[in-house]
Symmetry: C2
C-alpha cells in the first residue's frame, strides 16, 4: 500500500521542483509537534497557483521547519467561480459556513450586512483561517477569499451583471431550486454565480424588493423547512455544484 502523506498544507511561497522554503511558525508547530513529522518525512503543499506538490522535511526545529519541494502531484485547476454571500451569524456557525463553503468549492466568501443582521462583528481573519484549514483537509488546490463585510445595498449595487445571483429565498414565494436550475442551459449554468443567503430573521420587505429587482436574479426555494444560514449555504452550494457537474 502506498504511504500517503498525512500532512497537507497551504503555503504562500511559490512551488516548483527543487524549491526550498521555511514553514511559518504556526505551520511548523503543526507539522512538528502536532503531526510529529521529522527530517525525511513527506508532506503535500499547495498555494492556489502552482498546483499540488509532494515535499520533504529537511530541517525541523522548535517552531521552524525547512522543506524541499519535489514532484508535482496535480496541476492547478480553475475552480468554478461561485461566491457565497451571507449575512454574518454567530461565531461558531459563521466558522462552519466558511468551512462548508470551502469544502463545496466556493471561491469567495462575502459577508453582507442586512437590516435584520444582529451580529455586529465579523472576524475576517478567523474565517480565512477556517477556510484555509478546510481547503487543506478537503483536497482543494485553492483557498477562497473572504471579503470585508459590506451592506447588502452596496454589494448588490456593485455586483457585475455577468455574475448570476442565486437568491435563497426563504419566503416560499420562489420556485424550487431544482426546477430553476433544470431550466438553465449549459452555459448559463456554469456561472459565474453569487449565492445569496439571508440573515436569521430573513430579509425585510424593502430588501426583498431590492433583491428581486436585481437584473437576472434567480430566486429559489430550498424546501419547506426553515434552514439555518450555514445549512442553507451548504445545501445551495451542493445542489448548484451537483447540477453544474451534470448539466
Amino acid at each position: 500500500m502506498v504511504k500517503v502523506a498525512k500532512v497537507r498544507l497551504f503555503v504562500e511561497s511559490s512551488l516548483s521542483s527543487g524549491a526550498t522554503l521555511d514553514l511559518d511558525s504556526a505551520a511548523a508547530h503543526y507539522a512538528g509537534t502536532v503531526m510529529r513529522l521529522g527530517i525525511g518525512d513527506s508532506l503535500v503543499l499547495f498555494n492556489g497557483r502552482d498546483g499540488e506538490w509532494q515535499a520533504t522535511v529537511t530541517k525541523m526545529g522548535h517552531r521552524s521547519c525547512a522543506i524541499i519541494v519535489q514532484d508535482m502531484l496535480r496541476p492547478q485547476a480553475t475552480d468554478a467561480d461561485i461566491w457565497i454571500v451571507a449575512a454574518p451569524i454567530k461565531r461558531a456557525r459563521m466558522t462552519a459556513l466558511a468551512e462548508k463553503a470551502t469544502e463545496l468549492g466556493a471561491t469567495h466568501i462575502q459577508p453582507v450586512v442586512t437590516r435584520r443582521t444582529v451580529v455586529s462583528r465579523t472576524n475576517v481573519d478567523r474565517l480565512l483561517s477556517s477556510a484555509k484549514e478546510a481547503a487543506e483537509q478537503c483536497g482543494r488546490l485553492s483557498v477562497p477569499g473572504v471579503g470585508e463585510p459590506v451592506t447588502l445595498n452596496r454589494f448588490l449595487g456593485s455586483l457585475d451583471l455577468s455574475r448570476r445571483l442565486l437568491w435563497c429565498d426563504e419566503s416560499g414565494d420562489s420556485p424550487p431550486i431544482a426546477k430553476v436550475l433544470d431550466g438553465l442551459n449549459g452555459s448559463d449554468l456554469q456561472g459565474p454565480w453569487a449565492v445569496l443567503i439571508g440573515p436569521e430573521g430573513g430579509f425585510d420587505l424593502a430588501e426583498r424588493t431590492f433583491i428581486a429587482s436585481h437584473e437576472g436574479v434567480l430566486g429559489v426555494d430550498l424546501g419547506p423547512r426553515l434552514l439555518r444560514s450555514e445549512t442553507a449555504a451548504t445545501v445551495a452550494l451542493g445542489i448548484l455544484q451537483s447540477r453544474m457537474a451534470v448539466p
Copy 2:
C-alpha cells in the same frame, strides 16, 4: 403586523383543542426563564402525531409551566421516509450531523460502526436532544428517531430491500449524484431511502465489496473534494430532497 409566537416546542402529550398540559422542567425553564414567557403568552406546540397547535401559558412557576392548547395551525403531514446512516464522528460534528439531518427532513438517524470508525461512543440521548431542538427551530412537525449504533454488516443485513440504499461513495468510482437521481423515475425517486455516509478514513475494501453487493444499492459521487461526514450528509440529503420535490 401579526405577533408571531417565538417559542415552538416539541412535547410528548396529545394535542387537541382545549387540552391542558404541563411542560417538563427543562421546557418550563426555557419558556419562563430563557424566553421570558408569562401567563397569557402564546407558544406553538407539536408532538409528531397531532399537527401543530397554538397554545397559551396559564400558569408559570419555578421550572413549571401549565398550558392550554387552542387552535390547530397545521395538520400533521407525512414526512418522506429518508434515513441517514453514518459512522460516528467526533462529538461536535456528530451533533451538527443530527441537526442538519433534522433540518433536511431525515426521519431516522442511524449510527453504524465500520472498521475505520475511531469514535468509540455515541451518545444517543444527546443526538435526540439535538434533533428535537433542530425540529423546534426549523418548523418540522416531527423529530427524527435516533438508533443505537449497530455494525455496518448487521445494518445492511437487516435492511429491508424495499428501502433504497444511496451510498455516498468517496472513492471517485461512482457516477455523480445528479446523474444517478436524474435516471430514476418518479416512484423510484420517492424512496423509502437510506443515505449511507462513510467514516473519516472511508470504508475499507471488504466493506466496499459488501456495500456494492447490496441489492439495488446506488453508489453516488458527491464531487471532487473530500467532504467531512456532516457536510456529506447535508449535501446528499439536500440534493435528494430537491430532486424529490421536482421529480
